[in-house]
């Protein structure tokens, strides 16, 4: 389908980029991205992906908007307090760009539903805050061979990596198992600067756009860390994939999904 005049204008700053062009914009319009978590990371990512014209955006979250979310979850407004986050996020995305089809999933992710949730999407973005969910999403994406952007934020720090199953290392290559409850601080206990979600969530959106359009080099094989206080980005080169990893090596020992015990910061 050719672009409408409105689309030519809306996406003109993309189309003029020689790396994107009309072809890249078509790819974006035909792409499907799933964002798991409509919070600090998912909010900015969803805004940019909707604005970019990613044709189908899925958003999964089982929470409702709370006043304490608004310091960083910029897709929700004061008027949305009490509303399902997926609905609030969907309304904002549709208002930004009517080209986008938004699918909402008002549900928790677990070992029963995750594979079904990710199966129709081209790229998955992890915007969850807890380790059981992060391990589950990693393992499911490795098993289903879905590219994934993983990220975490706390206080004045953030980090992310892109996982290309079968090619680069996965989250479990670095961290073998979730830490015990309360062993490492969570955002709720430790706080997080609002703009951190903007920085890291936008980088996740950037990786999704690069993956879809095939432009540049993805953050596969690296963990990128950001320290806002020192104003430093640091790219840590990771060992190659597999190497004894329980889920992504050629002879995995984890072949079914695991529901780990719920971390403390999940429910208020």
């Amino acid at each position: 389908m050719p672009f409408t005049n409105e689309q030519l204008e809306r996406y003109s700053r993309h189309i003029i980029l020689k790396e994107i062009g009309a072809k890249g914009q078509k790819k974006l319009l035909n792409a499907k991205v799933l964002i798991i978590g409509a919070g600090g990371l998912g909010a900015p990512a969803a805004l940019y992906l909707a604005a970019a014209g990613v044709g189908t955006i899925g958003i999964a979250d089982a929470d409702v908007v709370d006043l304490s979310n608004l310091q960083r979850q910029v897709i929700h407004s004061t008027n949305d307090i009490g509303k399902r986050k997926v609905e609030s996020a969907a309304e904002t995305m549709r208002a930004i760009n009517p080209d986008v089809t938004v699918n909402t999933y008002y549900q928790f992710v677990n070992s029963d539903n995750i594979l079904d949730l990710i199966k129709d999407y081209d790229f998955i973005l992890d915007g969850t805050d807890n380790f059981p969910a992060k391990f589950l999403i990693n393992d499911a994406c490795v098993m289903a061979k879905k590219p994934l952007s993983h990220a975490g934020i706390i206080r004045f720090k953030g980090q992310l990596m892109t996982i290309l199953p079968g090619e680069g290392p996965c989250y479990r290559c670095i961290f073998k198992n979730p830490p015990p409850k309360d062993a490492v601080p969570t955002c709720k206990q430790a706080g997080v600067i609002g703009a951190m979600g903007g920085v890291i969530g936008s980088l996740q959106a950037m990786e999704a756009v690069k993956y879809i359009t095939g432009v540049g080099e993805l953050l596969s094989g690296y963990l990128l860390t950001y320290d806002a206080l020192k104003m430093e980005f640091h790219k840590i080169k990771l060992p190659p994939r597999g190497n004894g990893c329980a889920v992504c090596s050629d002879h995995p020992t984890i072949t079914t999904l695991i529901d780990y015990e719920q971390a403390v910061c999940d429910l208020h």
């Binding site: 798991i36 978590g37 409509a38 919070g39 600090g40 990371l41 998912g42 979250d61 089982a62 929470d63 979850q73 986050k85 928790f108 992710v109 677990n110 992890d126 915007g127 969850t128 805050d129 807890n130 380790f131 059981p132 969910a133 992060k134 589950l136 990220a151 975490g152 934020i153 706390i154 720090k157 953030g158 980090q159 290559c173 670095i174 961290f175 830490p179 062993a183 490492v184 601080p185 969570t186 955002c187 709720k188 997080v192 951190m196 979600g197 890291i200 963990l223 640091h234 840590i236 080169k237 990771l238 060992p239 190497n243 719920q262 971390a263 910061c265 999940d266 429910l267 208020h268």
Partner: protein, 73 residues
């Protein structure tokens, strides 16, 4: 001797172990940090016995949550 920690060159005592470096660097969650030396992860059980060498490039990788609450059931 000189080693590189998170991209910064540092002068440290000869014979320093990974555990001692973790303490020196005030790693917040010493039991749950992943350590890579020269782009290879080392087993967490060997932190006390692993002696660093001149020129080693050490990275600490931390668990980081963040994002959306109320996610998992």
């Amino acid at each position: 001797m000189k080693i590189t920690v998170a991209g910064t060159v540092k002068e440290v005592a000869d014979g320093l172990t990974v555990s001692q470096l973790i303490e020196q660097e005030n790693v917040e969650t010493p039991r749950y940090v992943t350590v890579s030396i020269n782009e290879e992860f080392i087993e967490s059980g060997t932190f006390e016995t692993h002696i660093l060498k001149e020129g080693d490039e050490v990275e600490f990788l931390y668990f980081m949550g963040g994002g959306a609450y109320a996610f998992y059931q």
